[in-house]
Structure formats: C-alpha cells, structure tokens
C-alpha cells in the first residue's frame, strides 16, 4: 500500500507520455486544419474530465446534504478544485485553437459563454469555501455545487440544440472522425483521467490532513494554549 501511489504516478507518467506521442506523431494530420487540429487531444479530454469531476462533486454534495458526511464534503471540495483546473485548460486551449481556425480568439456564442459561466460558478464555489469561515459553509457550498452541476448538461448539449460557432461533438453528435484520431482521443482521455485521479487523491489527503491539524489547533486553543494561531486558514 505504501508504494501504491508512487507506482501509479510512474504508470500514469508512462501513459501520458505514450498518449502525447500518439497525439503528436501517430495520429493522422487533418486535411483541412493541418497539425493545429491536434489541440483536440488536450482540449476535449480536459473538458470531459472536468465534466466528470463536476458530476462526482454533484454526487458528493447531495450525499453531504443527506448524511452530513465529512468525507463527502472533502471529496466535493477536491473534485471541484481539480475540475476547475481541467476546465481552465479547456478554456485556455480553446482560444489558442480558435485563432488559427476561426480567425478570432473568442466569440460570445452559446457554447463558449456557457462554458465560461460554468467555470465562474465553480470558481465562486472555491472562493466560498476559501473565504467563508461559517459553520454553514459546507452546506451552502453543497447547494451551489448542485446548481453548478445542473449547468453541465446545458453546456454539453448546447451544441446539439443550438447553432453555434463551436463545431458539433466528436462522439454521438452526427459528426464523423477517423478511427485512428478517435483512438488517440480516447487514449488521451484515459491518460487525463488517471492523472486527475492521482491529483484528486493527493488533494484529498491534503485536505484531510489540513482538517486534522485545524482540529488539533482548536483543541489546544480550548485548553488555553496562548501560542495557538488565530484566524482563517492560509490555503494559498
């Protein structure tokens, strides 16, 4: 068990490297876009991973509201934070891809705007967790997370039901993709999922340890230790 995490880190590193090699060297070049289309191998898996993490956050938040389970609260915080990181990658790589293909960095179409709004909802969730010291914070955050998760299907299906600048989905949306490209895309998503799992694991352990330390400080304060630090956590 002690070596499980380092072994998984090495295996994930190998998988990420192999997926990168497939994305840059093995997958065929797009006839219309040329090599710049290869941004899809990071842009789309980042979005899918973020959606999945927000879905886990949704489940954990509901469980917390029902059971008031601390582990569910930690899981919700962890998945929201890592989800925001992946969504940030999606929002940064999108405009870099859009510039050479569409001729613009950004357009306020439904898909792009709703993705930005979703990102802002989860960033506000993290700010709430960070700066509110009320005992009700996990409860309020769980409600906000549920509202945020309700936006995820809207973001995903916006390109199915509305005409947008953003292209149709690569899977299940009526579009077609070379099987070698699809294979590389799914391989990169698998690599990103493994990476996200390890990051979530690290962040989960960190949050658990942080709460134990906070409890130890609180206990010492109650026992009247004058050296105990007062005030909010310094997370950043």
């Amino acid at each position: 068990m002690k070596y499980l995490f380092p072994i998984l880190v090495i295996l994930t590193g190998i998988l990420l490297s192999y997926a990168l090699y497939q994305a840059l060297e093995v997958a065929p070049t797009d006839q219309q876009q040329g090599d710049v289309y290869r941004i899809i191998y990071y842009h789309v898996p980042s979005a899918w991973t973020a959606f999945l993490l927000f879905f886990v956050n949704f489940g954990a938040s509901i469980y917390y509201l029902i059971k008031r389970c601390e582990v569910a609260d930690i899981l919700a915080l962890t998945t929201a934070e890592v989800g925001v990181v992946f969504q940030t990658v999606n929002l940064v790589t999108g405009p870099i891809w859009a510039r050479p293909v569409w001729g613009i960095w950004w357009t306020w179409d439904l898909r792009l705007t709703s993705t930005l709004v979703l990102w802002l909802i989860y960033v506000s969730y993290l700010f709430l967790r960070r700066f509110s010291s009320s005992g009700e914070t996990p409860l309020l955050a769980a409600v906000l997370a549920i509202l945020g998760a309700l936006c995820v299907p809207f973001v995903y299906f916006s390109i199915w039901f509305f005409r947008t600048q953003h292209p149709q989905p690569v899977i299940g949306g009526g579009g077609s993709m070379d099987p070698r490209m699809l294979h590389t895309l799914l391989l990169n998503w698998l690599a990103f999922l493994c990476f996200a799992f390890l990051v979530c694991w690290s962040r989960f352990r960190l949050e658990k340890l942080q709460r134990e330390v906070d409890k130890a400080h609180a206990m010492r304060s109650l026992m009247g230790d004058p050296e105990e630090p007062q005030g909010a956590r310094d997370d950043f």
């Binding site: 290869r38 940064v92 010492r220």
Partner: protein
C-alpha cells in the same frame, strides 16, 4: 509532424497550468507537514 506555434502554445499552456496547480499542492503539503511537526514537538 511540422511544428506549429499554436499547437505548441496549447500543449505548453496545459502543462504549465497543471504544474502550477501541483506546485501549490506540494507547497501546502510542506507547510502542513511543518505544522504537524511543530504540534508534535509541543
């Protein structure tokens, strides 16, 4: 594969974001470890 500046920028930005986030986790973990050591000493 020909080199494309947009492709390079997108991949580099991805890993810069991930590495920056991982470094904040490591920094917070190191600070917590110091705190735990301090608590154990008291």
């Amino acid at each position: 594969m020909t080199s494309n500046p947009y492709l390079f920028a997108a991949y580099a930005a991805t890993w810069i974001i991930h590495i920056a986030y991982l470094s904040t986790i490591m920094r917070r973990y190191a600070r917590l470890k110091r705190e735990v050591d301090e608590l154990n000493r008291k």
